[in-house]
């Protein structure tokens, strides 16, 4: 099983009374709360943490894209990934955004991902999210009724740009380009592995199956709530005649590991509460712009008890923040000693049948020191217990194929 280290880059200094005094962490968050001097420190510490995770032996490090968001300081994940490409050598670089419809022309994504793939020596995983309503429709003004059409056209254009050996013209509904001919080209041929972060939409599952992409369910509510969605995913794969290769699926899980369960409960309470209380304080007004969900998805949510249950679980923030006891008992954050965490993660992987496990080991206002502790202990005592899971039985066809280590460029040491 692949174990990837995921950073959301949350602003760690939202005020204690944030939830009471501000309507939303996203879209119209009070810009006066952002202190650029603190931002300087946070960005550098967050990148330290990502580099530390790569050094500690995680299989991949993940960044993603959010806009006008107090818990996601990466409007451009490509900027961060570019710096990481220079400062890491072996870990896969999993960029779980670019929200394709937001790039104009979309060949910008083909170009920047190709740059990242070249700089990193072929370590890129290309994430193509549609993007949340908050990011796309509200922060970036994208028409919700056109978002998916634009996304699909952008996808087709990017993939053709990567595959075609010669310049071509593109006369799409939304993009018209006389000469499509990205330079550079991705190092991985014909293209880097494509992962699709998504919610529980049936169309996304069918699309991933058709194009042979990884479906990554990025929930903040743990494996118990994720069960219904992942069951739905695997049922759909079966219906479409696809195998149960667990590497088809990714899942995001928060973890806090310490020498003992009690110590873990003590030290991870504050950052977990910060995340679920302040970071997930998203105004429900932004949740469902008309057209964002397709009619088929709305219909299926009305008729499908499975998805309705999943929706209830993930809409938890609409009813106020969960207490810490619930965060732990429902597995939003898996808390415990290394053996306890490994045992629970084994259950997560097996019950959801997920081979690409993305782990959030920094969350909320967690300090760099605590993130290092969590990361190091996980890498030393948890990760090895899970590393062989699924590996003998299934082939991971969705993992980067970099240049051999001996052929990769080594950045020059800098004399301070």
């Amino acid at each position: 099983m692949k174990q990837l280290w995921f950073h959301l880059m949350p602003y760690t200094d939202l005020p204690d009374d944030f939830r009471d005094r501000h309507p939303s962490v996203w879209v119209d968050i009070d810009s006066r709360l952002f202190d650029p001097a603190k931002g300087h420190r946070m960005y550098n510490e967050f990148m330290d943490e990502l580099e530390f995770a790569a050094e500690a032996g995680f299989d991949g490090i993940c960044v993603n894209e959010h806009h006008q968001n107090g818990y996601g300081l990466m409007p451009s994940p490509n900027l961060i990934a570019s710096a990481l490409a220079r400062r890491t050598s072996d870990a896969a670089l999993c960029v779980m955004g670019n929200s394709l419809a937001l790039y104009n022309p979309p060949v910008r994504v083909a170009e920047e991902f190709a740059m990242l793939d070249c700089i990193s020596g072929g370590r890129l995983i290309a994430g193509f999210p549609v993007g949340t309503p908050m990011d796309t429709c509200y922060a970036y003004g994208m028409n919700p009724s056109q978002l998916r059409e634009r996304y699909h056209e952008a996808h087709d254009l990017i993939m053709k740009a990567w595959r075609e050996p010669a310049p071509f013209a593109w006369n799409g509904r939304f993009s018209q380009l006389r000469y499509v001919n990205p330079w550079p080209r991705p190092l991985q041929r014909p293209h880097p592995p494509v992962w699709i972060p998504g919610g529980g939409s049936i169309e996304t599952w069918q699309w991933c199956a058709e194009l042979d992409y990884v479906y990554a369910y990025l929930s903040y509510f743990g494996y118990q709530a994720g069960q219904a969605t992942m069951n739905g995913f695997w049922e759909e794969m079966k219906r479409l005649g696809k195998d149960r290769n667990p590497f088809r699926a990714g899942f995001l899980q928060f973890v806090g590991v310490a020498e003992s369960r009690q110590e873990a409960l003590d030290i991870y309470r504050e950052p977990a509460e910060y995340f679920y209380n302040r970071c997930l304080h998203v105004d429900a007004r932004f949740a469902s712009p008309p057209g964002y969900a397709s009619e088929a998805t709305i219909r299926s949510k009305v008729v499908s008890q499975v998805l309705a249950a999943a929706s209830r679980a993930t809409d938890r923030e609409a009813f106020g923040p969960p207490p810490f006891e619930e965060i732990v008992s429902k597995g939003y954050v898996i808390i415990g000693s290394p053996d306890e965490v490994a045992e629970q993660l084994r259950e997560v992987a097996l019950s959801l049948n997920v081979g690409q496990l993305m782990l959030l080991l920094q969350y909320g206002n967690m300090s760099r020191d605590l993130a290092f502790y969590n990361t190091e202990l996980f890498a030393k005592k948890v990760k090895p217990q899970l590393a062989s899971l699924f590996e003998d039985e299934w082939e991971n066809r969705w993992w980067p194929k970099p240049l051999p280590a001996g052929e990769r460029a080594r950045p020059r040491e800098i004399q301070a």
């Binding site: 028409n143 919700p144 009724s145 105004d283 007004r285 712009p289 009619e295 008729v303």
Partner: protein, 261 residues
């Protein structure tokens, strides 16, 4: 209130409903957000004076998913012209309300001969950031009725699924109508109408509810100043954006008086 006559025409691959009632020269009506779920007292009052023809706008109740073929404003104007012609409204008097007001104004600007007299009820299409049009999308469900109507309970009641109708399909028709409006208007509703107002030469009534919480009543003056034809501003005291619901008789009578003048 007797039922209107119902027929359908083909547009954008949909069977599109056309409701019709009354005698005399045809009078077209293009509705605002949500469309016409069922014939209303306002339409009935209008039909006392004229033959009222209500074609379903793309994606609105009575139409279906064909609106997703429409990408830009030229597509919407073309579809609206096609719809008016199919409904027998080419060159007729036209009432456009809110979302339908924007399309009625665009049609009158692009194709002057298509509209004889024009009544715009709180039309969308302009945007002044000092006094912005409301964001109708980023709202909690509980905030919606009072945004659209000065009689929120009556507004909510008008959206309730009648007995015997399929609840899911009824809800989806409303969701689809909001998506169609979003497809045309997102995010501010400004699709460049200000640059075309000078082409509107039809005599125009600008009718507003004084308590409109979506398009500020002050926008009437902006429209009147931009339109080349003779423009007359009237206000319906106490009514919100849905003046047809809040004050059906006063609204219908103001329109009929303007058309008869």
């Amino acid at each position: 209130m007797s039922a209107p006559h119902e027929r359908s025409v083909r547009l954008l691959g949909d069977d599109v409903r056309i409701l019709e009632k009354g005698e005399g020269a045809p009078l077209g009506f293009l509705p605002t957000f949500g469309g016409v779920l069922a014939w209303t007292p306002f339409l009935d009052r209008l039909a006392a004076g004229r033959r009222v023809v209500v074609p379903s706008l793309p994606g609105f109740p009575g139409a279906s998913g064909g609106f997703r073929r429409l990408d830009d404003l030229a597509d919407w104007v073309t579809a609206t012209l096609d719809l008016l012609e199919a409904a027998g409204l080419d060159g007729a008097d036209l009432v456009g309300h809110g979302v339908g007001g924007l399309l009625a104004a665009e049609v009158a600007a692009f194709s002057r001969a298509s509209v004889r007299r024009l009544a715009l009820l709180a039309p969308l299409g302009l945007f002044d950031e000092r006094e912005p049009v409301a964001d109708v999308w980023a709202k909690r469900a509980s905030e919606v009725p009072a945004l659209h109507s000065a009689k929120p309970e009556a507004y909510a009641q008008s959206l309730a699924c009648p007995p015997g109708q399929d609840e899911v399909e009824w809800q989806l028709a409303q969701v689809r109508a909001m998506e169609a409006a979003a497809r045309l208007l997102w995010p501010t509703g400004d699709r460049g109408l200000a640059k075309r107002l000078h082409r509107i030469t039809a005599p125009t009534l600008l009718l507003w509810g004084s308590e409109d919480r979506i398009v500020p009543a002050s926008y009437a003056k902006r429209f009147a100043e931009g339109i080349a034809g003779k423009a007359e501003i009237r206000s319906i005291p106490g009514a919100g954006h849905r003046l047809d619901l809040d004050a059906p008789e006063a609204t219908a009578d103001a329109i009929l008086a303007f058309l008869a003048s």
